[in-house]
């Protein structure tokens, strides 16, 4: 068995340093390729995913906001419409009731006028009849009193005057 050979405890050899540098370079490449590349890729993918999630959420929120405003608008429009419908109905009803009232009052007044006219006619008629009767009666009474035939034609004017004065 040959005796083991050792390097000096503190030694500098360019060959050894060169080997160290090559080893370091290879280790660097290993770490870059097998540790940094996949980790960086994964981190980038995660960042991208989070960003896309955020943008999706933002989009959904803006959409919801838009829908909300739309609904609010629609609701207010519907309220307006309802108010309009109610208002127009009320107006029409008022108009109609006014019309009905006017018509009925017109009818009533026409009826009253007609009735007044009839009453007047009746009154005139009655008056005339009464007058005729009174005239006949007066002529009769006078003829009784005078005991002679008083010609109604002769005294017509006189009697008329009398009746007018009396009644």
């Amino acid at each position: 068995m040959t005796e083991a050979l050792y390097e000096a405890f503190v030694s500098i050899g360019w060959w050894e340093i060169l080997v160290t540098m090559c080893n370091t370079l290879i280790t660097f490449l290993i770490i870059k390729k097998f540790l940094y590349k996949p980790v960086r890729k994964m981190l980038a993918a995660r960042t991208e995913e989070v960003e896309s999630m955020y943008s999706t959420a933002e989009k959904a929120q803006s959409e919801a906001e838009q829908m909300r405003s739309e609904y609010t608008e629609r609701l207010s429009k519907a309220k307006e419409e309802a108010a309009e419908i109610v208002g127009s109905a009320t107006r029409r009803a008022a108009e109609r009731s006014d019309e009905i009232l006017r018509e009925s009052s017109q009818q009533a007044s026409a009826m009253v006028k007609k009735a007044e006219r009839v009453i007047e006619q009746e009154r005139i008629k009655a008056h005339k009849e009464l007058k005729d009767e009174v005239a006949d009666l007066s002529v009769m009474i006078a003829s009784k009193i005078v005991e002679r035939d008083v010609k109604p034609e002769d005294h017509e004017r006189f009697i008329e005057d009398f009746i007018d004065k009396v009644g």
Binding site: I12, E16, V19, T20, F28, I31, L35, V39
Partner: protein, 240 residues
């Protein structure tokens, strides 16, 4: 008895050339590279959008290094993150290899010096890239031209101090642990002489506690310090 503290064992020679030895450090670093490769593939295997267990660990590690790089070097330096991760992992696992019956790769000056030279190249490259070749050369004459030799010295001192700091810490731990193991063996033989010669009962216990500091704590510390210094120097070179 003798206590021997050696450099890394020479396992063989590439093409039979004695100038190209294959050392224990190289073998161990290859094992560690294989481990790192396995770890990376394992941690990022079957990744999902919702992280779970090992995937969360991988993401956490990457984001942590990213955060460190950003806070130390400034914005837009994420390209350095894999290199810092490489330094951290190589250094940490290289130092912790001693827990698995292997000689720490960082207890070899060639390893730490190699990393420090890469860092030095990065520093110089970034200084020239962001300050121009004129600005780089002018930087040596500040604050006055007399300081030029000192500036050159401090420039060279950067990789030297970085590599020796890391190497010294790990090698120091190795030396102290080896010495204590030897001393405990002697003590054990003297006190408990009735036991067979190769059973040193007192070696149980104390070395384990010391190993917590010299292997685990120092390994983490030095990996962190080396990476932080690299980030600080390169970031400084970019911003000046």
């Amino acid at each position: 008895m003798n206590v021997e503290i050696n450099g890394p064992k020479i396992l063989g020679y590439l093409f039979g050339n004695t100038n190209l030895p294959i050392t224990e450090t190289m073998r161990n670093s290859w094992i560690i590279m294989a481990f790192i490769l396995f770890l990376c593939i394992f941690l990022t295997h079957r990744m999902q959008k919702i992280p779970k267990g090992k995937q969360a660990l991988a993401e956490k590690a990457v984001l942590m290094i990213d955060g460190l790089v950003e806070s130390t070097m400034g914005e837009g330096c994420q390209a350095f993150s894999p290199y810092i991760m490489t330094l951290m992992m190589s250094s940490l696992f290289g130092s912790l290899a001693s827990l698995f019956w292997m000689r720490s790769t960082t207890a070899d000056l060639n390893t730490t010096l190699g990393w420090a030279i890469i860092t030095f190249v990065l520093i110089t490259f970034n200084k020239i890239k962001y300050g121009g070749i004129k600005g780089y050369l002018k930087g040596f004459l500040e604050p006055i031209f007399v300081m030029a030799p000192l500036n050159v010295l401090s420039e060279i001192a950067t990789p030297v101090s970085m590599s020796f700091r890391h190497f010294g810490n790990m090698a120091g731990g190795l030396v102290i642990t080896t010495l204590i193991m030897g001393a405990l063996k002697v003590l054990s033989n003297a006190v408990l002489g009735f036991l067979p010669d190769n059973i040193a009962l007192l070696q149980i216990g104390l070395p384990g506690v010391l190993s917590l500091y010299f292997d685990c704590f120092t390994a983490c510390m030095q990996a962190f310090i080396f990476s932080m210094l690299t980030m600080a120097y390169v970031g400084d070179a970019r911003n000046s």
